[in-house]
Subunit: 137 residues, 2 copies
Amino acid sequence: MAAENSLNIGALAKATGTKVETIRWYERVGLLPAPARSAGNYRTYAEAHLGRLSFIRRARDLGFSLDQIRALLDLAEDRDRSCDAVDLIAREHLDEVDRKIADLQALRQELDALISQCRHGSVSECRIIEALAPSAG
Amino acid sequence: MAAENSLNIGALAKATGTKVETIRWYERVGLLPAPARSAGNYRTYAEAHLGRLSFIRRARDLGFSLDQIRALLDLAEDRDRSCDAVDLIAREHLDEVDRKIADLQALRQELDALISQCRHGSVSECRIIEALAPSAG
DNA sequence: CTTGACCCTGTAGTGACTACAGGGTCCATG
DNA sequence: CATGGACCCTGTAGTCACTACAGGGTCAAG
């Protein structure tokens, strides 16, 4: 288990399902530590980078913001600390997701009501346009 | 019906619940036509602007993109045309909202499962961190 | 030694605003 | 008539999380 499992950026991208540009972006914003460079100035990633990037991608898939992920990664480093702070971040995110779902469902209802009124006539008698305009001139 | 009900940008903002900067932004991107200017170079809005901006805001509240709104406004101008194209835009938007709701609900479930595993111990045995990391090193 | 896939940096674009900075205008007071 | 403060102007940069170039350099196969 020596240097044989080191990856260049393309291999890391493939291994994690991330675009190359996105990996460079995570480095720029300090989420992924800058890796060693090869003689030709190529980024050379180790196992630890793969783990960290997988963590980031999984958290992104779950809708955490990069700031939240940064906080989670910081917390994860302090192995002896209580994980209540981690739990809090996850709960806050869950609350936000719940709010978004509720908002979208309310919006969906309005939209559905709008569409169900369409009589497929001309625009001048279009209920959708009417409903959007407050007092047509 | 003379010039007495013309508005400056602040009054239009108040009347429509829009920020002044947002109104200027809509003008810049061609959603709201550039109004006449006063002697002191202030924007001077007429009734038509109020109607159009109200339409834009209402459509935004319903989650339509500015591109979609642009299309709706274009269609609304052609009073004799069939409103099927309007209906189509609205239906496509509804489908997108449905997809977003489904995505968020799936995400919500995963997140909920994650959180319910928290035993409030130390980070080193944190299920949330574990679930995010694929194979901790 | 050339080809083509890969890598590098740096900058600009996305959507829909928001937030200044650094000025000008208007109007009601004193 | 001067002053103060609320309003308005333009232009630019910032937000979030990337994405997409442009214009180069590196590397391995043939």
